[in-house]
């Protein structure tokens, strides 16, 4: 680990305090307005949250994976929308440039992503391209020293506020599958790029997703990440690999919040003349949640350490994403059960979290896709 314990503790304590004093109290307002208040966005920028994983040389904190997941454990205790706001700049919106970008691309974009001045957005999913990510259909037709983009991207996180899109597009229509795909950096405002109306989602209000349409959108050849066409899919997969550990850590954080809410409620709520926390059937639910949370947290820490040590953790990342996203689903379900009728009411955070955490099993690879990756990696090993 690059940081000493004292500094890391100080970082984590600061994020925890910010979460408790500033983010959690504002959750009902964010839910109501479907937007994070601008002053909170500014405070998140001032705090340096947008640059956690961006190298120090480019204005970020350059945290190791093990350090980043500790911050995620703290930040994810607040509504997932706050995590999503900074999530793309730390993950899918910047990692493509960090991992495969040219030095010009790094210098141009990373400092602005690290400061939060520019919000990065990652555009892979299309109306007909989801789990079959290599089937990207959005076309990028080479024309002289530029490419012309045509097509539609779907459910793109932070698209309405993004300043920069990482766009997966097919540069070679004659090559089916992964090899014909390239990754482009397309600034918002480029002629021919339009963002649709924000999607109406089940939960995670405060995070905006939308369609992104490309209509004869012309970008220079220098917009290809790394400068070489045909490597986009490989870039996308590397980006998602790291993101999965971050998401898994966020799932653990949400589970720990749900558990705290459940514990507090069980102590307070009285039935049959005593707090419901005294009843063994309630205790069983609390204990199961706590045990699963501990397992998830331990997995994430282990995988993060291995990644920092230079090991390939494709299998471990998928294990973490699979287990932790399913785990937080079960913890949320129990949290609602412990709350009884109150858990179905919008007055209690568990109702909102129950809807919010459902997404974790879907995005950045569904649980089924994680299972396929894990199996594929195991079969490769034998």
């Amino acid at each position: 680990m690059a940081l000493d314990t004292e500094t890391l503790t100080h970082l984590i304590d600061t994020v925890r305090r910010f979460v408790d004093e500033r983010l959690i109290p504002i959750e009902p307002r964010v839910e109501e307005e479907n937007a994070i208040p601008p002053e909170i966005v500014r405070e998140m920028r001032d705090l340096g949250l947008f640059g956690l994983s961006i190298p120090e040389a480019h204005g970020g904190l350059g945290l190791s994976m093990a350090e980043e997941v500790e911050i995620a454990f703290a930040l994810g205790r607040a509504s997932p929308c706050f995590r999503s706001l900074i999530g793309t700049n730390n993950g899918i919106g910047s990692q493509g440039i960090i991992i495969d970008g040219t030095s010009e691309q790094k210098t141009e974009w990373l400092p602005r992503l690290a400061s939060g001045e520019v919000i990065g957005s990652f555009a892979l999913t299309e109306p007909d391209v989801g789990s079959d990510a290599a089937a990207v259909a959005l076309s990028a037709r080479p024309e002289g020293d530029s490419y012309v983009l045509n097509g539609t991207k779907r459910y793109i996180t932070n698209a309405p506020i993004a300043g920069l899109f990482t766009v997966m597009a097919r540069t070679d229509p004659s090559v089916r599958g992964a090899k014909g795909v390239s990754a482009f950096l397309v600034p918002a405002g480029t002629p021919g790029l339009t963002v649709g109306k924000p999607d109406r989602k089940m939960g995670q209000r405060g995070t905006l997703t939308a369609d992104v349409m490309f209509d004869d959108c012309r970008v220079p050849a220098s917009a290809v990440i790394g400068g070489v066409a045909g490597r986009g899919f490989a870039t996308a997969m590397k980006v998602l690999d790291r993101g999965r550990l971050h998401i898994a850590a966020i799932c653990c954080a949400a589970a720990s919040r749900l558990l705290d809410e459940s514990l507090a409620y069980a102590r307070e709520r009285k039935q049959f003349g005593q707090p419901i926390a005294e009843f063994q059937l309630i205790q069983a639910m609390l204990a199961e949640s706590r045990t699963e949370l501990y397992a998830g947290t331990s997995m994430v820490r282990d995988a993060a350490r291995k990644r920092d040590a230079g090991q390939a953790v494709t299998l471990e990342s998928s294990c973490c994403k699979l287990f932790c996203s399913e785990m937080v689903g079960r913890v949320a379900d129990r949290a609602v059960q412990i709350h009884g009728g109150a858990g179905y009411m919008a007055d209690y955070p568990v109702e909102r979290f129950y809807r919010d955490v459902r997404l974790f099993r879907l995005y950045e690879g569904t649980s089924q896709i994680q299972q396929l990756i894990i199996a594929r990696e195991m079969l490769k090993e034998t």
Partner: protein, 249 residues
Amino acid sequence: MKVLVPVKRVVDYNVKIRVKADGSGVETANVKMSMNPFDEIAVEQAVRLKEAGAAEEVVAVSIGPQQAQETIRTALAMGADRGIHIKHDGEVEPLAVAKLLKAVVEKEGPELVLTGKQAIDDDCNQTGQMLAALLGWAQGTFASKLEIADGGAKVTREVDGGLETIQLKLPAIVSVDLRLNEPRYASLPNIMKAKKKPIDAHEPADFGVDPTPRLKTVKVSEPPPRQGGIKVESVDELVEKLKTEAKVI
């Protein structure tokens, strides 16, 4: 102008305080410790003075065990330039702290010392005043507003009757109250940079001060638990009980 800010490491304000079983003090083992909140306000004010160009350097000083350096780091992360740590395990009383601070002031030559009005652990509210007396400096206590101009400090004080505004000649001691400002969150990059800022380590003996307590703590006990309320039948009974039991009228 140089500003000196003494900062104290105390039990975090969110922690539920527990008294040790033997009544000798408050439990501090495995308890989260933080900077005294009033001192945080003092650091914030000093950093704002620096940002406004009214101060050139902000020095944070702490007297306490090795871990007091973490409290100094917090000040450095908020924007103080360097730290001074006077290492002392065990209790220190306001007078000893004031004597040590006097020695630091004589060595450093600040024009302004910004202190918290009191620490939330012992609530003494003495150190700033004692320091002013030892140095023979002007003092403005319980500041809710502070302006530095023309070699002086205009301090608005929170007093029982309302607000009192006084003009002090520099150098001066100003102890700060809750409403002076809202301290910032140290940014994550600044927390990392704070590690590289210098902290000078000293012992009380370096300044010729003996910090041995002069007072002896006889007993520490928890406040009595709140009694349940009762319902009275009539106004007469209420008046009677207020007279004879509560003894408030």
